[in-house]
Every structure is written in C-alpha cells, then in structure tokens.
Amino acid sequence: MKTLVIIPCYNEQDSIVRVIDNLKNNAPQVDYLIVNDCSTDNTEKILKANGYNYINNPINLGIGGGVQAGYKYAAQYGYDIAVQMDGDGQHDPKYLSKVIAPVESGEFDMAIGSRFIEKEGFQTSFMRRFGINIISTLILLLTGKRIKDTTSGFRACNRKLIEFFAANYADDYPEPEAIMACLASGYKVGEVAVVMEERQGGVSSIRSLKSAYYMIKVCLALIVGRISFSKKKGGN
C-alpha cells in the first residue's frame, strides 16, 4: 500500500537530518513528507540542500495545521496510509511497520504508537504522565474507550481517516482531539506498543508554563468534540 510518513517540523535543524536518514534506512519502501511549519532557523536550507521531500507553510500554523497540510497532501496524492512521526527524533522508524500493521490489516482505522503499554524507553516526566492520564480518563468517560498514550504523535491511519483529517483537524494541541474526533465519529482506534526516545532537539509543543492552560483547553475541546462529531457525519 502507498504509505506516506508525515513529519511536522518546526526549528528542527539539529535533528531533522538524523530523523530522515534513520527513516530512509529503516523504511525505504515508504514515502515521506516533511512539513516545515515556517521554521525560523536553518531547517529550510537543510531540507533544500539534502533534497528532501518537503512543503513549506507560508505562515506558522502550529502542529495541528502543519500535520493537516500533510494529510491534505496525502489525500491529494492518493496515499492509502498516512503515518505521523515527529521531527525531533522521539519516534524510532524501527517501529513504523509495527504501527502501520494494524491499519494495513484493517484492525484499526488509526493506530497510535504508545509508550505506556510495555512501559519501556523514555516515559516522560511525572507531571506530563499525570496530564496524559487525565486526558486518557476523560476520553474513557466520554467514549468508553481507553487510550493510554493520548498525546503520542506517532500514529498511522487509513485512507478514510486521511480524508477525514484533511477536512477536520484541531489546531493547537491536536493529538487528543484527533482521537476524540475519530472515536466520536465511529472509527476504530487502537494502540500498539513502541519505545520512544527523549527528544534530540527542539522544544515540545507542550511547555510547562502553558500546561495548565493546555489541560483546560484540551479537556474543553474533548467535550466539544464529543458533542460535535457524530457517527452520521463520518465514520462507518
């Protein structure tokens, strides 16, 4: 199946080359697309010099808008499977096939690479895990489905969801909201165990000072997402 790896990238000049080389070595059969979200450092020069496949957002859209541009690209160019992978080296391309497998087999519409199933590798800070757990519990309460690693940006989805995401995708902190949108619309979402690294460069899109605001916003967005997406609109 035609597979596209979408790599959102904002000021990742230190890590992007390693990430792409790693991806090419581990998964030469897949296409990739780097979404340069108006980086202010040398990222664009590096992408150009290396002849990578990339798009440039003319304005900074944030992680959600950037990834959505990738989904739009995947929708336009007829990809069957799209995989999101961070540009900072957190996600190991070794696990790519593992994340894709359940989507390819049709078991899930979206498969999320989860660091909390086998609890190996970088487990992030206590506060971060606490926040992730709150989001996870809220999703459980709203949809009846337990997703452990709600903020994981390592996820694969099928053609139906590529089209769905090309049309609706949250802006600022989209990972939990995308899970909610999928579940509320009746898509099958599941997790597969992966091991994540600590980021090699760049800054997380979730910074400590803004985390309280982040939590409030995500919780509100999840509740709104529960109300606004219905099985009639999308899904099966």
Binding site: Y54, I55, N56, N57, P58, I59, L61, A69, D171
Partner: protein, 123 residues
C-alpha cells in the same frame, strides 16, 4: 411619576442615535462594512433611535421588566447588544482563521509543485 426629559438632552440623544445610524449606512455604502456583519449594528442603532425619539417606550419596557431606573434598562439593552456583537466578532474571526489556515495549506502544497516543476525545467 418621571419628570419629562430635558429638551436639549432629548435632542442630543436623537442626533447621536441618527448620526450613528448614518455612519453605519455610510460604511456600508463605502463597502467597508459587509451587509452580513451590518445587520446586528443596524438593529442596535434602530433600537437606540426608537429609545431616543420615544422615551416613553423605555418607561413602558422598564415597567414590564421591573427595572428600578429607566437608564439601567437602556444600559442593559445596550450591553446585550454589545455582547452579541462581540460574540459574533469572535465567530467571524474563528471563521477567518480557519480560512487562512486552509489557504496556507493549499499554498504550501502548491509551492512544492512549483518548486519541483522549476527544478525539472532547470535541468
């Protein structure tokens, strides 16, 4: 019983309300205010004109609503309008930000095509 409204105050209120309506119409005529965003402003200004021309309506509505001071009733009405207008502005901005995002994404994908075409032509 309320004492009748002071003549010069009455005049100022009417001139102010009508002037406001004329300003809205002027902006619409100049194309600086789109019809779909002007409706709530027109309703607001018409309401103020009615209140200014016929203060009696305020007294009646005031008694119906059970507000102690008529001026509070006017403030209340205005605040409701302002809140509605602010909310509609937020909604309009949300719509714009969505459209800007879509434009940027379409532009990014196009830019890639153009870049690749140029590279091909240069070869």
């Amino acid at each position: 019983m309320m004492k009748p409204i002071n003549f010069s105050l009455h005049a100022i209120l009417i001139i102010g309300a009508v002037g406001f309506l004329l300003f809205i119409l002027y902006l619409m005529k100049k194309g600086k205010l789109e019809v779909k965003y002007s409706i709530i402003w027109l309703a607001f200004s018409l309401c103020m004109i009615i209140f200014a021309c016929f203060p009696y309506t305020v007294l009646v509505l005031n008694d119906i609503a059970g507000v102690i001071d008529p001026v509070n009733f006017i403030f209340f009405t205005q605040i409701i309008f302002i809140l509605l207008i602010l909310l509609s502005v937020s909604a309009v901005i949300s719509g714009f930000s969505k459209k800007i995002k879509q434009l940027a994404q379409a532009n990014a994908i196009l830019e890639k095509r153009v870049r690749e075409l140029e590279e091909k032509m240069d070869k």
